[in-house]
Assembly symmetry: C2
Homo-oligomer: 268 residues x 2
């Protein structure tokens, strides 16, 4: 039914069947089995997009390790040394920053095929926390090797620049959301964005299971959890969506879209 949840709920189950008894620290397990980008179905939305078969082989030589992160565990934390960037193989993460006085802001939610860790390049230290919201696995790409290789493989260099630029542009969009939109618009934009990304990964674009709490959604959108909850309820009353806890069914995607694009006249 929820196509998205199949593997995910299985992963959650896996959490409690083998995470506890088998391993002391499941979050730091690294399965060093060789990684084959060429046989990864996320290839085309991950870092090696558009590389030739030959170049792909060179990249595979750099992506020599995977790492599993149990739900609730951090892949890295603000202040950690920066060594690598990470591609999500499966699972779901949040990225968040903390201010000196303890406030936290979720800066992004990341899913399979997306990259984590670019915040650390500038200072050799990570500046955000990357926390798994479900049991996840990432490919570890040591950055110094990536830099070396991208001098030789033009397509990789190009792709690395693209990915970083797109992250800048994505954040511009979030700034616009936070700076100019009302609660209703923010949440509608959030839902549409999520469903689009899920659709690109072959999941349903009308049914999804939220991997984060209302509070985390609120943090991302600059709202309090009660406002998120109320707005969900209002969307449901208006027939735009159907919400049952974290299960959301989109009933009127265009209606949602019209809440934040074009129809600016909604504001009175």
């Amino acid at each position: 039914m929820y196509k998205q949840s199949e593997r995910s709920s299985a992963a959650v189950l896996a959490d409690h069947t083998d995470a506890c008894p088998n391993q002391a620290s499941p979050s730091h397990t690294s399965s060093t089995g060789h990684v084959a980008c060429s046989s990864c179905n996320l290839r085309e939305m991950c870092l090696p997009t558009g590389l030739s078969r030959e170049d792909l082989g060179k990249v595979e030589a750099v992506v020599n390790q995977r790492r599993r992160i149990a739900r609730g565990q951090a892949l890295y934390r603000s202040g950690d040394d920066f060594n690598a960037i990470y591609a999500i193989r499966y699972g779901f993460f949040k990225a968040q920053v903390a201010s000196p006085d303890g406030r936290e802001q979720v800066t992004g939610f990341l899913m399979a095929g997306e990259l984590l860790g670019m915040d650390g390049i500038g200072t050799e230290r990570h500046t955000v926390d990357a926390v798994a919201l479900e049991d996840s696995e990432v490919c570890v790409m040591p950055f110094s090797q990536l830099e070396t290789l991208s001098r030789e493989v033009n397509g990789l260099q190009r792709q690395l620049h693209r990915v970083m630029s797109r992250e800048i542009v994505r954040e511009n969009g979030v700034m616009m959301l936070l700076g100019t939109m009302r609660a209703e618009e923010r949440l509608a934009a959030f839902l549409i964005n999520l469903t689009q990304r899920l659709k690109a990964r072959g999941f349903s674009s009308t049914e999804l299971v939220l991997r984060m709490t209302r509070e985390e959604i609120g943090s991302y959108l600059g709202l309090k959890l009660e406002t998120v909850s109320r707005t969900f309820s209002r969307f449901q009353d208006e027939g735009l969506i159907e919400v049952k806890q974290r299960h959301v069914k989109i009933l009127d995607a265009d209606g949602l879209r019209s809440l934040f694009s074009s129809e600016a006249a909604t504001a009175h």
Copy 2:
């Protein structure tokens, strides 16, 4: 008195003495005189930070053009083809995004030594407008040449990655500001940030001339111009600053800082 304003006001004057009569389109003038990074006093806060003399020479070969932008003109606009990134030689810019329905959000203010244009790398099209807030000049760095050169000059590659990563981190900070801070905190953080950057450029860290309107500040901070104005007035009443139009004197920098860092208990 206002060290910062010396050259700037001179530039503004230049605007009205030669922009109108002498040139049809001052914003597109490119003075192709050779550019010498090695003799540029912004060298150490610009792209070629930390390069050897030899490598610097190679970079200079790529930075072969300057461009002047008159106040109010755009260096580039959203939708324009992406060709180059730009280093500001002097002047002041705002970067802003527009949503389909016409809302605008200022995503940054940029000063000498800072880089513009990285928003365009990902899609080969710019996604933001870069508008000069005073008469300005930039060094044009064709990106394809920069990519080619950065394969050869490791320091340049490294620096390019650093700069992009730092932009991501900066935007994370703005997201935190927009998502969690109150008007007072936002404006205090804004002022402290500006003065720090001015100080790094050798200007006074206590007296500054704002190059942007209240509305532009408000757009950046997710506030309305009236709120910006009122908050300035309140800061003045509290003896934190002295405001006279766009002239701002910082009287109590620590007081301002305490408004947004540590003292979270300010919220009641």
